[in-house]
Amino acid sequence: MKYVIALLLGLLVGVVVFAAGMIYNPFIVDRGLSPLSVTDAKVITLNYSGVPADAIVFTNDGESRQRPHPDKVLQLWEAPIRQTSAMATVMRDARSQTAGLGIKFSSRSERTRLLHGEALTDSVWYIYLPGRGSLFIEQSENYWPFLREVVFPAYRSSANKWKGMWLGDTTAGPGALGTAAVTGGSGSLRGLKMNGVESLSARAYSVDEGPISVEGRLLIEMPEAELADDDLEAAELDARASRE
């Protein structure tokens, strides 16, 4: 009997050791700077709040930590969309002025490999920028660094909260350099093929409520030859402000 208990205790410790090793695996490192943060090309910068309650509408299966907003919004409870969330939010430019509207659909990805440090979601953005046109952004996002450095520490904290400063890119593809594929749909952006990167800047997270202070940012690299003069001026201002 003592041997069985020793074996079971060992198994339990083994599972805990594995979980700890996976979370703190030093061989899984962030990709560092995104290629767009050092680009010389003109970029469009769009900011949004990553807190569901700040969105116009945010919905999911209703059982997630991130609660739907407003309360009476239709929830995505049907089996094929249960692991999906939908958000409509105001997009702001680098000067914090309203730039347009963004709609984001995200679904947990079956390509998730926690052993490799990949907690993936497949997401798409539709963004409408009055006066400029519409954009479609397709990407896979890796939330493992966010989970490891923000969510797990919140669980470890006695107050069930995390406070600090975390900044990281979530975009992990499909571009070869880990960038999102951006397609212009209408207006002056029509027909353009671009690259983009989404990043999160977190300051507070709660186990009970989810994100408390999180800002999202989309950087979209413009193809220089396609820019009109007024777009150039706006993009230059955006780029300057985003680097400041």
Binding site: A6, V13, L74, P80, I81, A88, E110, Y128
Partner: protein, 197 residues
């Protein structure tokens, strides 16, 4: 009497087995498993494949966002008051396949930008991918509006084609029937292979 040394060895063996079992389980069982509905695709007469989707109105409407609404949907939604968004209408829906099963979500954005009217659809089917469609603002005979597949992700990435939308009012007279449905018919055509010399 169990030897302490043997007990310790058993404990260490347990740890090794625990690590191996956890790693094996994580490798063997997918962390995410999306529920799939078999797609219902037909061969189109003049090339490509067609697939129909629909939205039952009002039960599949998640959001109707537009300025100056007396009864916003969902209740409690606050549409941004910014003048910049005064000509924009955004709707979010659940999307159903031909078997009337919910298989995804979609957005329809209608906006007026100067003289130009924009109507864009994004269909997001979690197990398959997403489609972005630019619609022509003018409806054709029969109430159809046609649009072009501008981009897609995953399964839809290599496809071209078009999609039509049409409002079909309910004529069944059933008490629990929807007021009508938005019918979407997508036609997918593969991108041509590059010519080889």
């Amino acid at each position: 009497m169990p030897d302490g040394n043997d007990l310790f060895k058993t404990f260490i063996t347990g740890i090794v087995l625990g690590v191996a079992a956890a790693a094996g389980a994580l490798y063997a069982f997918p962390a995410v498993d999306q529920i799939r509905e078999a797609s219902i695709v037909s061969v189109a007469a003049n090339g490509g494949n067609t697939e129909s989707f629909h939205v039952n109105v009002p039960m599949d409407r998640v959001m109707v966002g537009a300025p100056g609404q007396k009864q916003p949907l969902p209740v409690g939604m606050e549409w941004p008051a910014d003048e910049l968004l005064s000509d924009v209408r955004v709707e979010l829906f659940k999307v159903r396949n031909a078997r009337d099963t919910v298989i995804g979500v979609a957005s329809r954005t209608a906006a007026r930008d100067g003289d130009v009217q924009i109507i864009d659809w994004v269909l997001h089917l979690p197990a398959r991918g997403s489609v972005f469609v630019n619609m022509q603002p003018q409806a054709t005979a029969g109430g159809y509006r046609k649009g072009e597949l501008r981009a897609g992700s995953r399964e839809f990435a290599p496809l071209h084609g078009h999609m039509t939308e049409r409002w079909v009012p309910d004529t069944s007279g059933d008490e629990d029937a929807p007021a009508g449905r938005i019918e979407l018919l997508a036609t997918y055509v593969g991108k041509p292979e590059p010519e080889t010399l």
